[in-house]
């Protein structure tokens, strides 16, 4: 096993488990790219996946994958002298990739803030839907767009916008005549951005000088399952100021968390839906806040 455990001094401890999401921007700047894999003998499945991804999308995905590997390594092994793969274009420094990284328990998407899953809950909410808006920067003639685009619907009597859908990533957009566009259906922020660019490109191909201004994520919805039943009547008794439980109207309990400002729908089967977030970290934070409270309503025999 060619483990190269000589981390350059400046790199040691540069990336710690608690790295927040915005540091990705720093890494983009430092030009990180992945290292060729040293040993393929005892790679876990996740490592295998990462390797394939790296080989396919080297130029653009490079920094992303590097963060993923190093954060997963860091998270599972602590900041124990792992070399982040610093890579300046000419030099090919070999970086160690431990062959026996344990499989990371939860399904992580690449740009997850590195909260280790072994924190309080071990459950990571999955994002289900992201709503974003973008301004195409020019007025649009909806009738022409609806005529020339095969994936568009336009019914001026019902709703004053064109409804356009694309297959990859599977999303829907509402395009208004003012040039503003609302996009829904993506499962991650990057997918949302990619889809918005595709819509803009479709509109461009129709001869409209569309631009891509002010991309903003308006809402994110996540869901997860705590896997035990919850006594909603008890919960609403203790959290009456923030919760509303009306079984005659809706089977779930509506809990409005103040910090972060998220609305949670809690059901008796243990499923929790979180909505109202502008960034992914708010959803994770809200879930970590609610999980101990929910556990309190479950006594283990």
């Amino acid at each position: 096993m060619d483990q190269n455990n000589n981390p350059p001094p400046y790199a040691q401890g540069a990336m710690t488990p608690g790295i927040p999401i915005f540091s990705l921007m720093m890494l983009y700047g430092t030009g990180l790219t992945p290292q060729p894999i040293q040993n393929t003998n005892s790679l876990s499945i996740l490592e295998e996946q990462q390797r394939q991804q790296q080989q396919q999308q080297q130029q653009q995905q490079a920094a992303v994958a590097a963060v993923q590997q190093s954060t997963s390594q860091q998270a599972t092994q602590g900041a124990s002298g792992q070399t982040p793969q610093l890579f300046h274009s000419q030099t090919l420094t070999t970086a160690p990739l431990p062959g026996t990284t344990p499989l990371y328990p939860s399904p992580m998407t690449p740009i997850t803030p590195a909260t280790p899953a072994s924190e309080s809950s071990g459950i990571v909410p999955q994002l289900q839907n992201i709503v974003s808006t973008v301004n195409l920067g020019c007025k649009l003639d909806l009738k022409t767009i609806a005529l020339h685009a095969g994936n568009a619907e336009y019914n001026s009597k019902w709703f004053a916008a064109v409804i356009m859908r694309i297959r990859e990533p599977q999303t829907t957009a509402l395009i208004f005549s003012s040039g503003k566009m609302v996009r829904t259906g993506a499962k991650s922020e990057e997918q949302s951005r990619l889809a918005a660019r595709k819509y803009a490109r479709v509109v461009q191909k129709l001869g409209v000088p569309a631009k891509f201004l002010d991309f903003k994520i308006q809402n994110m919805v996540g869901s997860c399952d705590v896997k035990f039943p919850i006594r909603l009547e008890g919960f609403v008794l203790t959290h009456q100021q923030f919760s509303s439980y009306e079984p005659e109207l809706f089977p779930g309990l509506i809990h409005r968390m103040i910090k972060p400002r998220i609305v949670l729908l809690i059901f008796v089967s243990g499923k929790v839906i979180l909505t109202g977030a502008k960034v992914r970290a708010e959803i994770y934070e809200a879930f970590e806040n609610i999980y101990p409270i929910l556990k309190g309503f479950r006594k283990t025999t």
Binding site: G150, V202, R231, G234, T301
Partner: protein, 420 residues
């Protein structure tokens, strides 16, 4: 007589403020010379104080009680009287209505919404005084849609920042059961169906409590559960004569509406009772089914606390636990043996975590579709978008022509009147 001014012509100090129509002027009273005059036009800042006053502010309508508000307040009082609520409730409900009316969103709402608001105020008053009134009742009385009602209700609770306690199940059972017309014989109710009110009430309460313990009430509308429990209680008090009567017929006899989910709640409750019956020594030998278990409901309810605990345990333990169960029941009294449980108290208290056996029905049913975990995808959002991918979404010129032709044809077809 302003001081300190001198007429430039004659030098006198007798200057008088005298307006010529709307123009202010300072005039010397001796020689009539106009010393200064005001401006005929006003500047924007001057007009700040004189700007046009809106109708709503000038008529004082915000200080008075408007006609629609008066009508609403009358409706609140009428509704309280129809429901035969105590007089104090009326005043509280009226106060809530007035409070809600202060908010501009409510004031400008449609009449339909204001009508529903009347019901919301009455409902909130009843909830706060533990008077069991369901939303369904109010919606029926107001001929309102439950969706509209729920929206207005949630909005009102949020606007006024109210603390509305949940519906009290015990009180609801008492009022609902009392409304069943089965307590005296009549032409439509034969003698064998008549039942004593107190007995039926107490047994229904026990059944509802059992349903609550076994996760049949949380998250569901309370009324169908109570209907099912009342039906079972009534049947079990005289099973030989009443087993032949169905739930629908029972509700018709009692002159009560049958809520749609009541039959599935009934099945769930019977399933729970059957499971409890498996734990009772003298019932294990009889192979009970959903009909025959009704006759033994009395016994099951008498020992329900212990049976539920056992049903819990049997969920995790092996069938060998049945023998220990028999020993326990040999003597009449079962002691609170230390099996590591807390005491089982009222439905609203905390319950032990359920093993696989005692779960809400939604968790026991197999999932309708297996949600695949999404593949770990690395998408940056900045990838290149290939032209061919975009081309697939655009129509070819031929398709455009076809589409236009089809649209024109459809227009023509809809404009031609149908031949008789």
């Amino acid at each position: 007589m302003p001081g300190g001014g001198r007429c430039p012509d004659c030098g006198s100090t007798e200057l008088v403020e005298d307006s010529h129509y709307s123009q202010n002027q300072l005039v010397c009273s001796d020689c009539g010379c106009v010393v200064t005059e005001g401006v005929l036009t006003t500047t924007y800042t001057d007009e700040g104080n004189l700007r046009e006053v809106t109708y709503s502010r000038s008529t004082g309508e915000n200080e008075q009680v408007s006609r629609s508000q008066q009508r609403g307040l009358r409706r609140v009082r009428d509704l309280c009287r129809v429901l035969q609520l105590p007089p104090t409730f009326e005043d509280t409900a009226v106060a809530y209505y007035q409070q809600a009316y202060q908010h501009s969103g409510i004031r400008a709402a449609r009449l339909q919404k204001k009508e529903v608001l009347v019901g919301c105020c009455v409902l909130i008053t009843c909830r706060q005084r533990n008077w069991p009134l369901t939303m369904g009742t109010i919606c029926t009385l107001l001929y309102a849609d439950l969706d509209m009602f729920s929206g207005t209700y949630m909005q009102m609770v949020k606007l006024l920042g109210l603390d509305v306690p949940s519906l009290c199940l015990v009180d609801l059972v008492k009022t609902y059961c009392s409304s069943f017309k089965l307590f005296e014989a009549s032409p439509s109710v034969p003698a064998k169906y008549v039942e004593d009110k107190e007995k039926m009430l107490s047994r229904t309460l026990q059944l509802v409590e059992l349903a609550d313990e076994t996760w049949l009430v949380t998250g569901r509308h309370p009324l169908p559960v109570i209907t099912a429990a009342t039906f079972l209680a009534w049947q079990s008090l005289r099973p030989s004569d009443r087993l032949t009567c169905s739930l629908a017929r029972f509700c018709k006899l009692a002159n009560v509406d049958l809520p749609y989910p009541a039959s599935s709640r009934l099945q769930e409750l019977l399933a729970v009772l059957l499971r409890l019956a498996e734990q009772l020594a003298w019932l294990q030998v009889l192979k009970l089914d959903k009909r025959s278990v009704v006759a033994h409901i009395g016994d099951l309810l008498q020992h329900r606390h212990m049976l539920v605990r056992k049903a819990f345990r049997d969920g995790t333990a092996e069938p060998g636990a049945l023998d220990t169960g028999e020993e326990e029941l040999q003597g009449q009294g079962w002691g609170r043996e230390d099996r590591g449980h807390g005491s089982l108290d009222l439905p609203a208290g905390k319950r032990p975590a359920s093993p696989a056996l005692l779960l809400p029905p939604c968790m026991l049913k197999p999932p309708k579709r297996i949600c695949p975990t999404p593949p770990v995808s690395t998408v940056t959002g900045d990838e290149n978008i290939s032209d061919s991918e975009i081309e697939q979404y655009l129509r070819t010129p031929q398709e455009v022509r076809d589409f236009q032709r089809a649209q024109a044809a459809r227009q023509a077809a809809t404009s031609v009147p149908n031949p008789p």
